[in-house]
Amino acid sequence: MRIVRSLLSFQGLLVGGAVVIVGYLAIVPLGYLIHDTFLSSDGTGVSFGAFSRAYGGNAQAGDMLLNSMWFALGSAALALVLGTTLAYVQVRTDTPFKGLFFAASLVPLIVPGILYATSWIFLGDPSTGILNSLVFEPLFGATPINIYSVWGMIWVQGLHLAPVAFLLMVAAFRAMDPSLEESAAMSGANRLTVLRRVTVPLLRPAMISAALLMFVQSLESFEVPGLLGLQNGIYVFTSRIYFVLRAYPVDYGAAGAYAIGLLLIAAAGVLLSSWLQRSSRNFQTVTGKAFRPRPVELGRARPFVGVAVILYFLITVVLPVAVLVYASLLKYYAAPSRKALSSMTLDNYRAVLDMPLAFTAPKNSLLLGVGAATAVMVLTAVVSWVVLRTKAPGRRLLDLLAFTPIVIPGLVLGLALSFVYLRMPLPIYGTLLILLISYCTRYLPYGMRYSSAAMAQMSPELEESAHVSGASWFQTFRRVLLPLMSSGILAGWVYILVVSFRELSSTILLYSPGKEVLSVLIWEQFENGQFTTLAALGVLMVLLLVLLVSIAYRLGARFGLQGDSAN
């Protein structure tokens, strides 16, 4: 009786509702995916036919597997090394241009992967790429750069992910109590020993989880392998799934089999990383407090580090954006020359505005972004409260469920959702709603990250004192919890809004004509070989994202109550 009554309370309904929604988002698509893949062709029994078609003799599955791992591990390694080095230099040394680091870290937010890859096509194409024709050919008489290779893919993906690794590692460096290192120094350890024996072991948990995130994101990336790999027939899991689904007749079973393979690799990555972290769980370096350690003096190396920082900024930010703008002004793409410069025109922008979808696509993107961001942040605020603040049975499972989608690649989710809603008699397939469901599922883990971080850094005593003061659960939630979490929640909201704009890998399987979003529009230009129109569209999209991000930062400054004093 008590259980029934407590379930019927407002709080009980909220918690129960959150559990049902999260469970539905995370479990149902995977269930359908597995069911449909193992279903035999006559629809009655279990069959492995899909797997033998997908991985059998002439499918070249071995090459694909190898390429996938090579690409994902390589990109993760590049991103992690770059990101960690940059974070160390930024947080712990007296390097010049500290602000540039954060400007560079905005790149993946405002330049979506599909545009970043396009920029590098303009730069690194073996025949027309600017770096080849303008730098290497005249200087060395050779064109060594081929962006359409696994190394090229790793380069683009790694550079695009490095800022994410950078931000994660900056947080880790800042959260680390410098007195731990100082006491090692007082014990007589030199700088290198301190780094090796204290700093790195303490950062290991953060590095492992960053590495896992980089690995999974590279594994599931569709944009880079799609734009760069397909040209030379270099397949990875994601591009293979796309290829299979675009062939005729469509072999859903084989696509499902690839999807399950991809899922297993991602899950293996998660298991490996939690195994690697098994011993580091005991030391909590993250105290929620921001420390300001005395920076390491670079001394004579300072100017060189400064030059390196500027070079990094030029190569990863200025060059790709500049080449995109340049290409958008040309009729046909060509390396810069007197002729090319004199033929510059705004025709591409005119063409973009004349497209029938010129306004529908951005509108759809905005609708989906706002919808997904709002739904996810409200849901995760409640879920993280249940997970962190209650002793409800099954709260760990809830936490796990909310994080599950992080290992589900976008393309796999798209496939699984189409399995679900092609069968369900609900009018969801072919509407924007299916995209909204997909985005909510994909960004649930990120929303969780923001919400639970905001919740965790808040002492439970702040809520308890409200309870003791006589406030009900709802009063406490509204007047104490939400305002204190608001800056974290707003940051998460903006992040999801912005990443929704660039989402391509699940959208590409789920959109239907008339329901295009911006990223699909860009992909269509690529498929039609309209590179200069693509560039113009890309420039407009970057401008829109810059606008959104800066509005968000403005809002963040207003609502940011405690503000990150470390920034």
Binding site: L462, E464, H467, V468, S469, G470, A471, V480
Partner: protein, 376 residues
Amino acid sequence: MLTVESLKKSYDETAGRKAGRHDDTRTYAVGGVDFEVHDGELFTLLGPSGCGKTTTLRSIAGLERPTSGRVTLGGRVLFDAAQGVNMRASRRGFGMVFQSYAIWPHMSVFKNVSFPLEVMPRAKRPGRKEIEERVGQVLDVTELGSYASRPATKLSGGQQQRLALARALVTHPELMLLDEPLSNLDAKLRETMRFELKRLQRELHLTAIYVTHDQSEALVMSSRIAVMNQGRIEQIGKPREIYTKPATRFVAEFIGTSNFLEGTVASVHGQEVQVDTEHGRLVAHEVDKAPAVGESVLVSIRPECVDLSRQPRGNVPNEWSGKVLTRAFMGDVVDHIVGVGKLEIRNRSNPNLSIPPGTEVHFSIAPDKVTLVPVD
């Protein structure tokens, strides 16, 4: 009057059930605690960290759900495991000061204090004017009147502490709960706030439960003290009783410093008890309850009750002699460690006395200062 009856709290909720055995297999943070708090009293739960004092306080507040037991205030049942009653913390109407103060950083000083009034049930909620008045009053009492509009985070540590107190006071609660409220202040401020808190408690005639691990704080402030150890209460009494008549070895060791000697009761004549120790015989005056002959006891002697002199005084009881081993000057007092055979006796006296190590000395202990602690 608050009554706590056989309160137990275990954190491994399932251990007992899983093993299919009785409750005894569980580990208890609080293992059966009984006490009463009278109106107008400042009742202290004192003990080392991990002794269960904070868990007890949080159970009274309604922030923890005890495993078993009963808590009542006046006629109201707040918690009763047998009847399945557990009133929500927000309905108990107590004031609480947290160790971290738990000041809401997104509200002003005024808002922090007005919050408990604003969230009252509609029927009891005072009007806006009255809220302003009451907040103003309580801010004046806590000397924060001029800071009302400041953001709460712009206060110093001592001011935040008083703000937390003001917030707890504003509803005129029947019971105040204070969880180590002074432990985050520096030593000087802590001393001032002790008297300040005590004055407020007396003037407003507050009933309060105070949790601390600081024995001098407990002795200064409390009406009565419950000394806790490993989830149980070792002794409840007035500060003077706790100090002079420790009931157990733990209390004697935890409160202040003491010289301990193992002994056996040799004879009892009325209040006069003779105790044989390894190092000689001692006479004690036991007013309350004399032990039986042959019983083993622990003799506890406070260092300030050891009367040190260079010359023997002769006709005084319990006079022993020994050699000064070390002396320690501490400003307001001086300690001498006197060796008697293998035994070391600590003496504490007025700093005028200073005897160099190696000197032969004599000391005596008045029989009523010799405390006999039962050995279990």
